[in-house]
Amino acid sequence: MRPSKKLLLLLVLILLAGLTGVANPARSQEITQEEKLVVFESVGSTA
């Protein structure tokens, strides 16, 4: 196979992987995991 054809095939594979979500396996986890909210409480602060 010629180098230009190899490059084209590689490009197609990369595009297909991106479309099917192979490159973003952590995405669904990011959406479902709730972010921690930190509450900083102070009493009698001077400034």
């Binding site: 909210l37 509450v39 900083f40 102070s42 009493v43 009698g44 602060s45």
Partner: protein
Amino acid sequence: MINQIAQEYANQPVVVVDYHLDILQEPPLFEPPQARWDVIQASVPPGTDLALTWTVVDSGRLYHRGAETTEEAYNAYTAMIDDALAQPATAEITAHWWQDGSSIKIRAVVTNNSTVTLSAENNAGVYGIVKENGVLYETHTTEHPGLNAAKTAITNLAPGATDMFEIEVPDIDPTDWDKVEVIVLVDYQTAPEAHYEQLQAAIATQALYTQPKFHAWFLDEGETFVPEFTSTIMGNPGLTWNALSNQVWLEVEETSGLVGDSILLTTNGGVMNPGWNTAVVTITDSSHTYTADVTVSIYKASPGEVINRIYLPIMTRP
């Protein structure tokens, strides 16, 4: 210092609440809201002398007291916040709030994702903490004053279980309701006379409110015409509502609708008495859970009275 920290963490999930404590009088004239003061005090062993400024994160899992220098305070507070940010949330909270007179009512759905059963035995609770953003009260030194807080005890919430809780925080009198922020927090006491630990907190969204919520008109002697005016009903998407006026002189068109719709208000100045005339339109959602209101105040001049008006220049950028 605390204002600076709040600013530096403004783009991160961190909320700062500052409570006032007046120790010059015995008993103190001002104390933090009792519900949170109990939690904060548990961060040190009972009987420990007071040392201010007293700061906690994660309901007292980490604390710092009596910093001598600004540098010490800055380093200690940022280390506490960074540590707390690195801890995972062990509960999920979805919360809404609405105003009922001077009270704030909250409805929160909590899922316990921890391994601890939340119950009366470990003093578990869901808290509503009300603060006002960007306002410096005489009684506070930061622009993050905590106005009040309340707790609803959790009687039994096993790991993995979900339940709904209602909290009412009374006596809220902010300078500006638009600057009010409501935080819902879940915590429990790790052992008798030991510190508490926060599972998660969330900023509650306002379930039902009106914009604007106040209209005022002034009628000169003999004048009766008031142009029609509107308020928009805001809140949870998809919520349906009904509107009802408590005065016959204030008519509401479109007495029902969806969040995002507006009510058209019309009135007849001819039927009003001299002086202030006030009407309240109450908006109630179709499940009769949430309420909001629009207040209309119209001042009608008495015979011979002249209403003085001052017109201020307004400068705007192009």
